[in-house]
């Protein structure tokens, strides 16, 4: 119960922080009168700060009954066990790596590497990764996507070193 209350307070503090950062950035917008380019950002920044304070206050005032009822309701929805944050972090890093490699390696190679590694990362824990299958599937998927968009939909994706071999 205390966890839920603390979580909601943390959400409120994060909202407050977002509002404060936006307010700080707004002070850097040049002023040319009362209703100018900074007017709406100021209104939004103060609204975000006020909402952050309200969320923190409401979470702080929450009673044990509120939390209990909410937890009972949440129990009605199916869950799939404890979240695996390591997989989330690996997924984000792989996506970032893919983005960095698109220009130097070209889309087909970067996508094939990304797909191969991401298939492995997301393979369910109770199953052994089928490396050979992934090794074939990843380049095939990357090639199909690249060819479809480049020649079917006229979207010139970066080809990297492969450019000289392409028609």
């Amino acid at each position: 119960m205390q966890d839920a209350r603390a979580r909601e307070m943390l959400v409120g503090i994060m909202m407050l922080a977002a509002g404060t950062i936006y307010l700080y950035l707004t002070t850097g917008v040049p002023r040319r009168g009362t209703i100018d380019a900074a007017f709406i950002p100021y209104v939004l920044a103060f609204a975000m700060v006020a909402l952050g304070l309200a969320q923190t206050f409401v979470a702080w005032r929450r009673t044990a009954t509120d939390v209990a009822v909410e937890q009972d309701v949440d129990d009605e929805t199916p869950t799939q066990g404890k979240p695996n944050y390591a997989t989330v972090v690996k997924t984000l890093l792989l996506f970032a790596g893919f983005t960095v490699l698109i220009r130097p390696l070209g889309f087909p190679v970067a996508a094939a590497i990304y797909l191969f590694l991401q298939f492995i990362v997301l393979t369910p824990a109770d199953r052994k990764p089928n490396y050979l299958f992934y090794l074939v599937l990843a380049p095939v998927c990357a090639a199909v996507i690249f060819v479809s968009f480049r020649y079917g939909f006229d979207l010139i994706l970066p080809a990297g070193p492969l450019t000289r071999y392409l028609p």
């Binding site: 909202m15 950002p41 309701v73 009605e76 695996n84 220009r103 997301l122 968009f149 979207l155």
Partner: protein, 513 residues
């Protein structure tokens, strides 16, 4: 009107558009049926494919995806008791028990036919209401548009699921993100940090793909290691439509009432098919002669849910086409699709591009017919697709999202943007902050700010002109009432002891995102 409609019909029967609509509906059904994949994702992934197409062909493909994905949710809702999309939540209440009783084929038949009826009725409503609303909107100026934007923002923020504070914050945050780039009227650069790529602000598509598709994928990645594939269910062959003519005629009043609910809720910004199916289900139960059968497997429940969610399609298209205001995330991304093809939805659209608009209407009708045909005769193929492992499917979708973002302006920057908004969307999910108000705030924010500044210029700086103008004054009063009502609901004393069952009932009655 009829000339334009006939012209639209002949346009969609051109081989290219006909094929695109058929493919669009089939792909949409897959995205609707597979839990974790959504209509937004389907449209976002296919948007780059429309770059090289004519605007009519491109938009026909996108609306076909919309129709297919909205209806496809019933397949997993009935067969797996998992709603493929939020618009099919109530379908699981009776569709699941019918499947368990061996009446899965009947539930699917009823769901498919009444999805079709709901879609067609909503398109008819769209065709008749849109021209009148557009004509009325022609007289709107900056004051009216500012007030409508504020009203829509407050409605979305206050009616979205969960906490009102979080809903409003989400809308305000979306508005704040939209202020990045060159400001309207005085063209001052804001929050660009010297980055040339940020001068034009963030693209709608990158925000949508990030907040919905990438965030959803990150969310699924959380639990994918626990097991990702779903066994394909076995379903008996559907004979005819799976139900008798007597049952069909007996359900027509329920279907008609649910269509009206779906269309009405679809028109309102922010509360789309995710809410209408539940409200329609509750209304059907309260009006039924046998309410005790609800939740145990009655076709009344399936009819109410499936008719209402599909009826929301035409309803949601009404404010989009006539005012340029998207009601939910799907119509927001459709708006992005219109803009990519150089088309600005609004009251002038029907006048300047009547043939194009009626081609969209015709594409919606053709999509509904294709949905009926494909779901009946291709059901087994879609069922098999439910068994595709998530660890294979999701990475391919990520790559397609990156392609879509890159295709916007051939910039790697846009791929980083979808990643950034994906992380933000995931943070919203973890914090229990609804994402739909963020998107609507992002889209309506510039409209509100630009019209606010223009309205003040027209009124020589007199801010009271927004209140004295009858239309803008009315909308602003409605916005104030909407917030006041929600504040009252939040502050009023609640009973000390609430049973979990009552709480679930109350949660079900709360509008869903």
């Amino acid at each position: 009107m009829w000339d334009l409609f006939l012209q639209g019909i002949s346009n969609v029967f051109a081989p290219q558009i006909f094929l695109l609509v058929t493919i669009g509906v089939a792909v949409g059904i897959v995205f609707g049926a597979v839990p974790g994949l959504t209509a937004v994702m389907a449209i976002a992934l296919c948007l780059p494919m429309t770059y090289g197409l004519s605007s009519a062909a491109g938009l026909a493909l996108l609306v076909a995806l919309y129709v297919g994905a909205t209806s496809g949710g019933l397949i997993s809702a009935i067969l797996l008791k998992i709603p493929g999309t939020p618009s099919s939540i109530a379908t699981t209440f009776d569709g699941g028990p019918m499947m368990e009783k061996g009446e899965g084929a009947k539930a699917l038949g009823v769901g498919i036919v009444f999805s079709f009826i709901g879609t067609i009725l909503s398109i008819v409503a769209l065709m008749f209401i849109a021209p009148y609303l557009a004509r009325a909107a022609l007289s709107f100026g900056p004051h009216e548009y500012f007030a409508i934007a504020v009203f829509s923002l407050t409605l979305i923020a206050t009616l979205s699921s969960g906490s009102m504070i979080k809903g409003i914050f989400s809308g305000v945050a979306g508005f704040a993100v939209s202020t990045v780039g060159i400001a309207p009227v005085d063209a001052i650069r804001r929050f660009t940090f010297g980055q040339v790529e940020l001068n034009a602000g963030f693209s709608i598509l990158t925000v949508l793909v990030g907040m919905f598709a990438i965030a959803e994928i990150i969310k699924v990645a959380e639990s994918s290691r626990a097991g990702g594939s779903i066994g394909a269910p076995v379903i008996a062959r559907i004979k005819g439509f799976g139900f008798s003519l007597k049952e069909f005629f007996g359900q027509l009043p329920n279907g008609f009432r649910s269509s009206v609910i779906g269309i009405g809720i679809g028109i309102l910004p922010g509360i789309g098919a995710g809410t209408s199916n539940i409200i329609s289900y509750i209304v059907a139960r309260s009006r039924s002669k046998t309410p005790e059968k609800f939740g145990k497997g009655t076709i009344e429940g399936v009819v109410a849910s499936e008719t209402a969610n599909n009826a929301g399609i035409g309803g949601a298209m009404i404010p989009l086409l006539t005012l340029g205001i998207p009601g939910d995330a799907v119509t927001a991304i459709l708006l992005g699709g219109f803009m990519i093809h150089g088309i600005q939805p609004g009251p002038m659209l029907l006048i300047t591009q009547g043939e194009f608009v009626y081609t969209i209407f015709a594409a919606l009708i053709l999509s509904a017919v294709m949905m009926l045909i494909l779901e009946f005769w291709g059901l087994r193929v879609f069922i098999r697709l439910l068994a595709i492992p998530k660890h294979i499917l999701l990475p391919v979708i990520v790559v397609l999202c990156a392609v879509g973002a890159f295709g916007l302006a051939s910039r790697i920057f846009d791929i980083w943007t979808i990643l950034g908004f994906g992380v933000l969307g995931y943070a919203f999910v973890k914090a229990g902050i609804p994402t739909a108000p963020f998107i609507i705030g992002f889209i309506l924010g510039p409209m509100a700010e630009t019209n606010f500044r223009r309205g003040l210029q027209l009124a020589d700086g007199d801010a009271t002109s927004f209140l004295t103008n009858p239309i803008s004054g009315s909308f602003l009063a409605l916005a104030g009432l909407s917030i006041a009502w929600q504040v009252y609901r939040m502050l009023r004393p609640r009973p000390a002891a609430v049973s979990p069952a009552d709480a679930v009932e109350a949660r079900v009655k709360q509008p869903q995102e």
